[in-house]
């Protein structure tokens, strides 16, 4: 027990003794517990009772081949590790955590891990057939619409099976994984430097969040700390990215409610943020700036000029927001649509603006502060109305909060100078989790390094976890509400499918 960096506390509701678990050494913020192969389901149940939130379940190779179930509980990430021996059947935790079902199916299909009590599916989740249609609802005049993977408009590929009698929607079934590129495997054998470039391309619209998450995981695995100035720059890039993503969702929300003039206004704001990023970094998605151990360099823009640009954006945003929220033809469509009760959101372990729109306050920046956010007072924006309007309000609130964080951080950058990069050890070894709050929600990555090269990377993307909830987003809504309920989720299939 002497190697445990973080002593297990009796007050936290998960004493290792109660779980029959053995604590293992872990970097700060992570609690690693080894449990017996037969104790996983009971431990997961204990986690459920303690009020934890399911994050993901994945396969790891450090220190040995094992299955790891990750949970978030009271500011810590709890990793339950079960050594995987041969072709033993693992206990499914899907009964306690419905969110685990997709993750378990993915493991079963891609890695051949067998789960007991797992539902048998004829259709493969990870290699979907665009032509297969499965019906569950029967009745007079009920028909099934396979919507996707070729979407109308410029959208990413995903398929929805909508079973409807014309108006009400008794069942929607989401089918991701049309875009699976096997990104996790493409990390293997690369160095951390190249790995960041791959991470940026997992979900392109959240490049900085993925890059920062990967970089933090590598830093934690080899035990180095990025310099403060680098953390500040990362926060600047990540908050600009959050603004671009939220503005994009709001513009699409205006488009789906046929408020085209509003759509144009928010597209203008988004393009201004994109161009600001281009001037600051040379890339419209701020790619290439974050590296493992810090950032590549200073932004290529005068900081006073950056502050002035932020002021201009805020002035425009405030005016457009007031008009947007005051347009009844638009808000009437959103109020009461796509309700996601808080209990359902908790059950599925949903994250991000989606969860915060249903009264939860999960935000990785607040739960487990990292990087620059350990030194900032963050206001977590949460709404209790649970509908599409609440999610729009959360996004507006976060836009203001991002601007505040940006201004504060740029001010710090302007006043102090410092290092930008910590050198990584040449042949670093280790394994660790990294996490950030991406614009779509909490992103967790597990990174294993051996002799300085990446051995395994696992990504728990917010998009995949939140999409499981889409099947339940139509309690009282009709088919014509589909588009704006989908956009109110604000997710990216690229991140979900990987």
């Amino acid at each position: 027990m002497s190697v445990v960096q973080q002593p297990a506390r009796a007050t936290t509701g998960y004493p290792p003794e109660r779980l029959g678990a053995i604590p293992e050494p872990a970097p700060a913020g992570e609690v690693r517990l080894r449990v017996g192969a037969l104790a996983l389901a009971s431990s997961a149940r204990a986690m459920h009772e303690a009020g934890a939130r399911f994050v993901t379940v994945f396969l790891a190779d450090t220190p040995e081949r094992s299955l790891i179930a990750a949970f978030a509980l009271r500011g810590e990430l709890i990793l339950l590790r079960v050594p995987a021996s041969g072709d033993a059947v693992c206990e499914s935790i899907g009964a306690w955590w419905p969110a685990a079902r997709w993750a378990e199916r993915e493991l079963a299909e891609l890695h051949g891990i067998q789960f007991s009590g797992e539902d048998r599916y004829a259709a493969r989740l990870t290699a979907p057939d665009p032509d297969s249609v499965e019906r569950q609802v029967s009745g007079l005049d009920v028909f099934s619409i396979p919507y996707g993977p070729v979407r109308s408009g410029i959208f990413e590929a995903i398929q929805f099976h909508i079973e409807t009698g014309g108006e009400d929607v008794p069942r929607i079934h989401t089918r991701p994984f049309f875009k699976r590129r096997g990104m996790e495997d493409r990390f293997v054998g690369l160095g951390p430097e190249a790995g960041v470039r791959v991470a940026e391309r997992v979900a392109g619209i959240a490049s900085c969040a993925y890059a920062a998450c990967f970089a933090q995981a590598v830093e934690r695995a080899v035990g180095v700390q990025a310099p403060r100035r680098a953390e500040r720059w990362r926060a600047v890039y990540c908050e600009l990215e959050r603004m671009a993503c939220h503005l994009d969702v709001i513009a699409k929300q205006a488009e789906t409610t046929a408020l085209y003039v509003g759509q144009a206004r928010f597209q203008i704001l988004k393009e201004q943020v994109m161009r600001l990023r281009s001037r600051l970094t040379g890339s419209r998605f701020a790619r290439g700036m974050i590296v493992a151990g810090g950032v590549r360099g200073e932004g290529t823009m005068d900081l006073d000029e950056l502050l002035a640009a932020l002021d201009r954006i805020e002035r425009d945003l405030r005016r457009d927001r007031r008009m947007f929220l005051g347009t009844a033809s638009m808000t009437d469509r959103l109020i009461g649509s796509g309700r996601l009760p808080r209990a359902l959101v908790e059950e599925y372990g949903a994250v991000g603006p989606l969860a915060r729109g249903s009264g939860l306050s999960t935000d990785a920046r607040h739960e487990r502060p990292y990087g620059n956010y350990t030194r900032l007072g963050l206001r977590v924006v949460s709404e209790r109305d649970t509908d599409a309007m609440a999610r729009v309000r959360v996004r507006f609130g976060e836009l203001s909060e991002s601007l505040r964080i940006l201004r504060q951080t740029v001010d710090h950058l302007r006043r102090r100078d410092g290092e930008l990069r910590t050198e990584l050890p040449a042949a670093g070894e280790g394994a660790a989790c990294g996490w950030v709050e991406a614009p779509q929600g909490e992103l967790v990555m597990w990174v294993e390094l051996r002799e300085g090269l990446l051995r395994r990377v696992n990504i728990a993307s917010p998009s995949l976890r939140n999409w499981a909830l889409f099947d339940h987003a139509f309690p009282k809504d009709v088919l014509t509400d589909f588009a704006f309920i989908e956009h109110s989720f604000g997710l990216t299939p690229a991140g979900a499918d990987r």
Partner: protein
Amino acid sequence: MLEWIQRGLSQGRITTRYPRAGQAALADIATTGPTRAFLAPGARPLATRAGGLRRSIHVRHIDCGSDGSEEWEIQALWNPFYDIQRLGFFLTNAPRHADVLLVTGPVTAPMRGPLQRTWTVMPEPKALIAVGDEACSEGLCRADALTAGGVEAVMAVDVYVPGSPPPPIAILNGLLLAAGLPVPGQDGDGTAGTAGDSSARKASYGSTRTASDGSRGEAGDGVEGQEAA
């Protein structure tokens, strides 16, 4: 609603001027990566294949496994800064109405069939544009069981728009090349796609086009960038 209109009028025109070669404005609207498209060797622009097809070109998009950023950049073409409808490009949801197909991503296994079917039902003449590094070549995703490693492994590509992701101005460049419309700054200065295609394009317009080439091809006669507004 009146307020929305007032707000729009008070802002004025914000349309971006198409950058001339080596123009400083490029830094603001583009990235450090490539900012233009390339016509595939032997590919013929739409204008050379159908005389009348010039000012009403319908565009369809299909995602075959991109990282999501290419979709953002294509969507940006219809925002008020680029507003490519004024150049005669329209977005269509039906492949049967489409003249140009924009393909993003390295073509993942489940998307191969939908891509081929989309292409098959499009009427002739039609052009296929590969948008993004992964669609143009293997890029990050080499060919394996999961992806085809680029669109050309599945079907012939007419225009390549490299970039990760390419900025909107490069995609606009690709659309102009595919359509055979004049590209500002690339006519006659030797910078156009391949050596032969700028002359081929000029020849195809015939005498009626040459007089108006300069002014009609301008992708924007508004003020330069929003800062000047």
